[in-house]
């Protein structure tokens, strides 16, 4: 099976310290397009919830007159989920709370270019 156009980007993201996995997700339905996950990460659940959350944030930001959402981060006690969107696709990472979120954000924004 040949690698998808996102494979290298996902591998690069998942190599960041504290990152448990990264994936490309369809924003409309939360289905995984491609992923690079550590064992034990519930990819399907993360993808569905991240897509739903991002979609809600995007629509809410637009309705509030804040323009298009570019980056979303959900911070919790034991980890964080980050997402950037381009068109119908999202680049999502799930990370431990010890992860350097600033670095993850920079890498995500850069990597989002591959979404087209």
């Amino acid at each position: 099976m040949s690698a998808t156009p996102f494979a290298d980007t996902l591998a690069l993201l998942t190599r960041q310290r504290g990152v448990l996995g990264s994936m490309v997700v369809s924003e409309a339905d939360g289905i995984i397009v491609d992923s690079n996950l550590q064992i034990g990460v519930k990819g399907n659940v993360v993808a569905a919830l991240a897509a739903s959350l991002y979609r809600k944030a995007r629509l809410s930001a637009q309705a509030a007159g804040l323009g298009t959402a570019a980056f979303l981060q959900l911070e919790a006690q034991r980890g964080r989920v980050c997402a950037v969107g381009r068109g119908d696709l999202l680049l999502v990472t799930v990370a431990e709370s010890r992860a350097n979120v600033g670095l993850i954000r920079v890498e995500l924004m850069r990597a989002a270019e591959v979404l087209g």
């Binding site: 930001a61 007159g65 959402a69 981060q73 959900l74 911070e75 006690q77 034991r78 980890g79 989920v81």
Partner: protein, 345 residues
């Protein structure tokens, strides 16, 4: 267009973030170009939503437009940012006088006099109001000047919306008249009414306080005006904060749209739905309780965080502001929100 207005307009065009909109708006107001003055003031307020002088300018424009309630609200905002602003107190006294609320007018004017005891027009105004109230002479301001110049008599209810500039011009041309004429009826337009508008910009605003914490008196004051709960934290920065209750209703804070409207309720209602999604996600992902949601958009950075009593705190800042600064602002706003909710409880 006068040379002064042209010069100030050019200056504002060169540096839209400057405070030149203040003298420009004032110059336009004096020329009677109230619609343009209003636009200039509102746009200035978009960039400097917590500038006391900007609210003062908007209040004086509102008076000229006959919008007394709005003027009162704007001056009330001025006092949140600059509690010692004599011009705002005098203006609120003016509005109360025009509305026939003489006792309120007396209170505001007395406070204005306390803030700026040297202002003779306030002394005269207070004397006029107290005389109208039938107060004994012993309660008159000690240093009321006599005689006091007053403008031509204009029934307050018949003052046309755009008449202030005309009144000022007429006043300039009118001969001085004794104070007793102003004292004969509360419907007359005393000198201090136009003086309030004429010299509002000259009233030095007291420096806005930056209290590290909220004392009981401040808390009581903030509970009276929840819109200004975060005002001292925000300062002049392009950022704002909203405290929402568990149902997404605004408890405190303000969010001004480009046209100057407070759209806090709309923004709060839209964005509070995001936290419901987060709650749902947390249940499935086993990441514990969520602590922050950061959304960066084309124009703003928005952070949501859980607040006391199941509420939500939303802070928004210009996209140019570093995210770390926005998070620090969030921490301070959260602390303030806790005090506010605790005070309310």
């Amino acid at each position: 267009m006068s040379d002064e207005v042209r010069r100030l307009s050019d200056e504002l065009a060169r540096d839209p973030a400057s405070l030149v909109f203040l003298p420009l708006g004032e110059a336009l107001r004096r020329q009677g170009q109230l619609d343009i003055a209003l636009k200039v003031a509102v746009r200035g307020l978009e960039r400097h939503p917590h500038n006391a002088d900007a609210h003062d300018l908007l209040a004086r424009i509102a008076v000229d437009r006959g919008e007394l309630e709005r003027a009162f609200d704007e001056w009330d905002m001025v006092l949140r940012f600059a509690p010692g602003h004599a011009g705002a107190k005098r203006g609120m006294g003016f509005v109360c006088f025009r509305q026939g609320r003489l006792e309120d007018a007396e209170r505001y004017l007395a406070e204005a006099l306390e803030a700026d005891g040297g202002d003779q027009s306030t002394v005269a105004a207070l004397a006029t109001v107290r005389r109208s109230l039938g107060r004994p002479l012993s309660e008159m301001p000690a240093h009321a000047p006599t005689p006091v110049h007053v403008p031509p008599v204009v029934p307050a209810r018949q003052v046309p919306r755009e008449s202030t500039a005309d009144a000022e011009q007429t006043r300039d041309a009118a001969p001085a008249q004794p104070e007793s004429r102003a004292a004969s009826s509360t419907r007359e337009e005393p000198a201090w009414l136009t003086h309030t508008l004429r010299t509002g910009e000259a009233s030095p605003a007291a420096p806005a306080p930056r209290p590290p914490d909220v004392g009981p008196r401040d808390r009581e004051a903030l509970s009276r005006n929840p819109r200004a709960l975060f005002a001292d934290l925000i300062g002049d920065a392009d950022q704002t904060a909203l405290l929402l209750d568990a149902d997404g209703f605004v408890l405190a804070g303000a969010y001004l749209a480009h046209d100057g409207r407070d759209v806090a309720q709309e923004v709060g209602a839209e964005l509070s739905g995001v936290s419901d999604e987060a709650q749902r996600a947390m249940r499935h992902l086993d990441l514990g309780d969520w602590s922050q949601i950061i959304v960066e958009t084309e124009v703003a950075s928005v952070i949501l965080a859980p607040a006391a009593l199941g509420g939500l705190l939303l802070v928004a800042a210009d996209r140019a502001m570093p995210l770390g600064s926005v998070r620090r602002f969030l921490d301070r706003a959260l602390a303030r929100g806790r005090i506010f909710v605790g005070g309310d409880a």
